[in-house]
Each structure stands twice: as C-alpha cells, then as structure tokens.
Symmetry: C2
Subunit: 242 residues, 2 copies
C-alpha cells in the first residue's frame, strides 16, 4: 500500500483560476469576492504542493538511478553464469505464462541460439530503456545482437525502435508467418494469439500497450531463474533439457 | 517511463534451488553437475540482487515519508482556506466523474454539512492510510467526524474499518436505501450504480477493489480545486452555487 509520490493530474492546478494579477476568474464574477480570494489562496497553496511533489519525484528518480548502477555488476555476473547453461533463456521464455504465448514453433528453434538477454535503463531512466538479445551464429539471420529500445519523444509520447533483422536467404520467420496467415490462417498453433516473438520485436511505434516488453523488463529480467526452474502448468510445449 | 524499485516475484528466488547445504535439487539429479553448479551460482547472485532491491524499496519509502511530512502543513493550510468556501467538498464530489456516481439525492443534502476532508498516510505508509470526513452539526447523525481506515492485517492482506454512524431518529440514509431496494428497486436515480456514499463508507472488509477510496486518496485529495472549478461534462446534477 506504499504510495508513490503524488502528482497533480494537471500541471499547476487545473481550473479557471490563476493566482496573481490576471486571474482568469476575476472578469467572470461567478464567485463573490470572499470566495474568489479563498480560491486564489488555494491555488497558490496548490502550487507549493505541486513543487514538493516535483521534488519528491526527482529524489525517487535519483534513488532508482543509484540502484540501477549498483545492480548492474550483479546482472552482468548473472548473465555470465547463465551462458554456461544450455538453452537457459528459451527455457525461461517457454516456462513463462505470458511470453510463451507469442512463441511460434519455428521461433522456438531459432531462439535456441539466444545466449544472452540484457535489460538496461537509460541513465536518465525517465526517458526509457532497451532490451538486447544476443545470438550465437545461427541459420536464420546475420545479426549478433538484436536491440529493441523504448524512448519518449519530444512531446513525451513513448515510441520504440528495433535493430533491423538481416535474415539469411529464405529464413525470414516473419515472412513465413505472413504467408501462412494469407493462406486462410493455416499453420498457426495458437489461433487466439496471432502475435509472434519476431513480430513483437519488429513492431515499432506506440509501445504503450506493449505488455511483452514490460513483462521482460519487470518480471522475467528481475528473476529469470524462477522461470527456468518452474514450468507453468498451463504450458503445452515440452522442451528437451540440455 | 520511470520504473519503481524492482522486487523479485517471490522472496529469494522462486525455484527448487537453494544455495548452501541442502539444495533442493541435489537429490533430484535432473541437471548435470555443471548445470547444477551454475544454477546454484545464479541463485546466490539473485540473493544479492534481491537484497539490493530491498534496500532500494526502503530508501524510496523514506523519501515518500519525508515528503508526506513536508506536504502536511500545506494540506492543513489548504483545508483551512477551503472551510471559507461554502459547499466546497460537495461541489468537488459532484463535479468528480467517478465520485458523483455514488452520490444519491438524500446524501447530497447531507454532504452539504461536510466541512473538511483529510487524507493521512500512516507513519509507516506501507501499512495504510485513513480518510476523515468532518461534519457540521446536522440533522442526520451525531458524529462530528467519520473516519475510514485502510490497513494491512498480520498476513499482509488489506482490510478497512469505519467509525460507526450514530444516525438521528429516522434519519438513517442507508436504511432508507435498503428499504427502497426492497420495494422493488424503487427510488434509485441511477439504476446501474447501486452504491451510495454511505454504503461505500460503511463497507468494511476487503478493500482491494475499493476504487472510490483510491480516487479520493490519489486524485481528489492531491488537487481538489480542479474538481471544484471544472464540472465534468457528464455530470447530470446541477448544484446551486452558494
């Protein structure tokens, strides 16, 4: 029940009132002078509260930045140990109740070459984060690393961009999927989950409904071991161990 | 896109592994010795990360507590100014898109006697908060203050409790409502909103779905002026000004 620092819904107070000389209400004569004066005093008090909220948000951001730095070496160490376990990430993906829903069969094959996942929040963590997928040499694409980044644009709206995938000849898993979809929705194992891992990865633009990215950042990445070890009971796919 | 401090989903790591002497996996022989060793190292590394997460949460809590204290005098000042404006709170309630939905007509009459609202998070803000409604002498009940508190019980589950209302003779607004409901759902102005302010207030037990309390704490209370000044276009009720 711990609350985060409160921010007022709108910058300043959201009404017709502005404290100071050109009060937006003074010309309207809706309120009597006593009420008018009280409203302006509330508005001024509200500005003081908003300033405190702003300072609270900044301090909390600093704490988060500090701990992101402190956690970093542990995440690196963890990634190095994980590399010693064959198929660690694909196993964790398959065992994860939400991530498993976007893996199609061909993609699972491909993701056996995934050796390292990294989530990194930008130094100014208000502005975003990136997820990097590192791959071994593989039959599907030339890239060694695929990076999906999440930013805020100049107006504060979120957007994402992804490193383009250099598919090897006839190995474009998303093309295959598109063509399968064209052939009357054949070839899909999960009729109610039309997404796939690589179509998620390549999807740019507005990420505000990107639950998969949030799940990777806030659930899988903080503790992947629990998903490697504990298969979700609803997962249909088996995975050969080692 | 600022993230809050991450906590692992389960205390420690959530798997079959426990670092140290009695590893839960050692008897199972599912993994080969190299993988087994790596898993134990990940588990140990995860414990270090969890400890950092715990410290981050504590520091953020301290910042929030500090700013709760710093905001307090401004909220008190604001409440004192608000008292000078007749019907401030009932007007803000009526103008609020969600709170307005639980006000029935008789209750609106009664809430004209509401002079002060206070939201206070407990010193250990993890454990909860309270909302106090202060009333002038009124024809409905004897209480000067009605307090609804939100706590966590010893197992961490949320619950709420409310000061009992000492209704004056034949003035129990909830009884009236009950009897109206018994008479074939007569007397309700909003057929799809069966709740009322006082039935919300008196509802104890599990508050996890208590959106009204959250709205008062996180939306109305941080900036009530905006709701006093800006009527929501969907509000049906008119309110006589002063």
């Amino acid at each position: 029940m711990a609350s985060t620092a409160k921010k007022s819904k709108k910058e300043g107070s959201g009404g017709d009132i502005s404290a100071g000389e050109d009060s937006g209400l003074s010309g309207k004569d809706i309120y009597n002078p006593e009420t008018q004066k009280a409203l302006e005093e509330i508005d001024s008090c509200q500005n003081d509260i908003d300033a405190l909220n702003e300072k609270a948000s900044e301090e909390i951001l600093k704490v988060e930045q500090k701990y992101n730095q402190l956690r970093k070496p542990y995440f690196e160490k963890r990634n190095n140990i994980i590399k010693r376990i064959p198929n660690f990430w694909i196993t964790a993906f398959i065992n994860h109740p939400q991530i498993s829903t976007i893996l199609d069969e061909d993609e699972e094959e491909c993701l056996h070459f995934l050796t390292k996942v990294e989530v990194e929040e930008f130094e100014d963590i208000k502005s975003g984060y990136k997820i990097a997928f590192h791959f071994d040499e593989n039959p599907y694409f030339e890239n060694k690393v695929l990076v999906k980044e999440f930013h805020l644009d100049s107006t504060g709206d979120p957007y994402s961009k992804s490193t383009a995938i250099t598919w090897k000849d006839d190995m474009d898993l998303t093309a295959k999927k598109k063509s399968a979809n064209l052939k009357g929705k054949q070839g899909r194992k999960r009729p109610f989950e039309p997404r796939s891992f690589f179509s998620w990865y390549l999807q740019e633009g507005d990420p505000s409904a990107d639950d998969i990215a949030e799940i990777i950042k806030d659930d899988l990445w903080p503790n992947p071991l629990q998903y490697f070890l504990v298969p979700d009971i609803e997962v249909e796919n088996g995975i050969e161990e080692e």
